[in-house]
């Protein structure tokens, strides 16, 4: 568990916040650029000192201005992955990886190199690596220093779509296989949806809200911050079958009627695996519960929990309950009136297969 409570003025910007990061899983620090994310990371890493504050990692105090306590960055046992990979140009990839590696971590070397897929790069010099390769080496280097927590400052910035997906995949494996807790800075809700277990939302130098990622995604009040157009919900589902001939994977969501499935493009996971689905509110349809099924749409019985209070404009967001999970849907104000929607009403949520891309389904 990392707990920080800091106050720092930087010109006319003030960082004044507290942050708690649990000792397991991936926590995302989400905010726009200029919201203070990177400053907060630098304070935690000990690269800057706040005017006042305390930072504690587990039962170790890293800093306490009142008690004049200061642990220098090299003794904080935190692994930092910066936005730029920051590899040392005068060492080979192997030299970079070994830079902060204590004797005790030698046994981890081969496994981690394999996990990150950088075995073929070991004798290269960093100047010859692609962006994605350099980031992976930087992640490996940070992890081999045996950190108690890994802090990543927008490690996916500047990578193209495919590289980004690849790196996301590696980070997800790390979080699962190494057990090192990760604090992940991002301004991209898609990255967060794919990676995070928890989200802390930072705005103008203050963490405004934090909680499990599905709950945070389901909060209307955070809509303006997370972006309405991309507003989405995260739902868990289970793989029940693959159809090789049709290149489809069939998923079942909790609350679905027996025999009903949601078909998506063929996934890597095995039957029985749990997946996390990111469903954009604008892709979720609502119909009265008696409407007959349609091909290519999966129907899930849903209860209307709440209607958003956007007073103006053509669209309204509603929150549905499907099998205990929160599902956001976006529809026109006109449709709300026509269906006479009100809280507590039994409805049908409709998910259209082709709106769900491979990147929206993460095998856990």
């Amino acid at each position: 568990m990392l707990e920080a409570q800091v106050f720092q003025r930087l010109g006319d910007f003030t960082l004044d916040t507290s942050l708690a990061v649990p000792a397991e899983g991936v926590t995302a620090l989400f905010g726009r650029s200029g919201s203070g994310k990177s400053s907060l990371i630098r304070l935690i890493a000990g690269l800057e000192a706040p005017e006042t504050g305390t930072i504690r990692l587990g039962d170790t105090w890293l800093m306490d201005t009142q008690r004049h306590l200061w642990v220098p960055p090299h003794r904080r046992q935190l692994g930092i992955v910066f936005q730029e990979a920051r590899l040392f140009p005068h060492y080979s990839v192997r030299g970079n990886l070994r830079y902060g590696m204590p004797r005790a971590a030698r046994a981890d070397f081969d496994g981690l190199v394999e996990l990150l897929g950088i075995g073929h790069l070991l004798s290269r010099t960093p100047g010859l690596l692609s962006g994605g390769e350099a980031r992976r080496v930087a992640i490996g280097r940070a992890l081999l220093s045996r950190p108690r927590m890994l802090l990543m400052d927008e490690p996916l910035t500047g990578l193209d779509g495919a590289r980004k997906q690849e790196l996301l995949h590696y980070i997800r494996r790390l979080a699962r296989d190494t057990g090192v807790p990760i604090l992940f800075v991002s301004h991209d809700t898609r990255e967060i949806g794919a990676l995070a277990d928890r989200v802390a939302l930072i705005e103008e130098g203050r963490v405004m809200a934090s909680g499990p990622v599905d709950e945070m995604f389901a909060r209307f009040d955070l809509g303006p911050r997370t972006g309405r157009f991309e507003a989405s919900s995260l739902l868990e589902a289970r793989i029940v079958a693959h159809d090789e001939a049709l290149c489809l994977t069939r998923l079942v969501l909790p609350g679905m009627t027996e025999g009903e499935t949601l078909s998506v493009a063929r996934l890597e996971g095995a039957v029985g695996d749990t997946v996390r689905l990111r469903l954009r509110a604008r892709d979720v349809g609502i119909a009265p519960s008696w409407t007959p099924p349609l091909p290519d749409f999966a129907c899930i019985p849903a209860t209307l929990r709440e209607i958003g209070d956007e007073a103006h404009g053509p669209f309204v967001e509603v929150m549905l309950d499907v099998g205990g999970q929160a599902l956001r849907a976006r529809l026109t104000r006109e449709a709300v009136d026509q269906m006479g929607l009100r809280a507590g009403q039994a409805l049908q949520a409709r998910l259209r297969s082709v709106t769900i891309s491979r990147h929206d389904v993460i095998v856990m």
Binding site: P73, H74, R76, Q77, L78, Y99
Partner: protein, 231 residues
């Protein structure tokens, strides 16, 4: 090929300049680090003092050395009394004169390369468990190596060509302080030694050229290693 007198002057020159560079290497590195990385009151003044030998007439520097380090000078008196060391009119004194004259060149070169080091790399090293000292040795120093090499060769060359401060502080004693430029000067002063003077002149040019080519080669090698092409 070389006459005993030429050998003497050449060997002395190389020894004096080598010692001069060796003496200023660490202080120069430290001074460059302080000037490149810290801000403090009086920094401009310190910077000025370091660069003074570059703009002062060398004879003035030699004179100042003589005044402060001669037997009558406070520092010189103390050195002689406590350590039994006397610098004027010795080859060590010639080395000191060369060192003082070469110091600003070394500091400038190292400072420039220190200022071009990406501080973010040093930060990365700190977060990987390296103390300030280890960071300097494993990241900063290798990165400024080309600048340090260039600076050292410049300093060596400057010391090799030193004349005014040397003749003022260490005099022109054959076998002790008569370096190449001083030997050349003595020959030019002697009627009928024109040919010998010309030979010394050629030797000086060759030594200087070798130093420059060697430094360029070393610096290029170091840079190539940094850029990731195989050296």
């Amino acid at each position: 090929m070389l006459t005993p007198l030429e050998w003497e002057a050449l060997a002395l020159s190389l020894r004096v300049s080598g010692v001069a560079v060796a003496v200023i290497l660490l202080p120069g590195l430290g001074m460059a680090y302080v000037l490149a990385r810290f801000d403090f009151p009086g920094k401009t003044l310190l910077d000025g003092i370091v660069h003074l030998p570059l703009v002062l007439p060398p004879v003035v520097v030699g004179y100042l050395l003589l005044v402060s380090l001669g037997r009558q000078g406070t520092l010189g008196h103390w050195l002689h009394e406590t350590l039994g060391v006397s610098l004027p009119f010795t080859w060590q004194g010639a080395a000191l004169a060369g060192a003082v004259m070469a110091f600003p060149l070394l500091v400038r070169a190292v400072r420039l390369s220190l200022e071009s080091v990406d501080r973010k790399l040093e930060e990365a090293a700190r977060t990987l468990g390296a103390s300030r000292w280890k960071t300097f040795l494993t990241v900063t120093l290798p990165l400024i190596l080309p600048g340090l090499l260039t600076g050292s060769v410049l300093a060596f060359a400057r010391s090799l060509s030193e004349f005014g401060a040397t003749i003022t502080f260490a005099s022109n004693i054959p076998g002790e302080t008569r370096t190449l430029p001083l030997a050349l000067y003595s020959l030019v002063q002697t009627p009928g030694k024109e040919a010998a003077a010309a030979r010394l002149c050629v030797i000086s040019v060759i030594v200087a050229l070798i130093a420059l080519v060697a430094s360029e080669w070393l610096a290029r090698r170091a840079r190539r290693r940094l850029e990731g092409r195989h050296a």
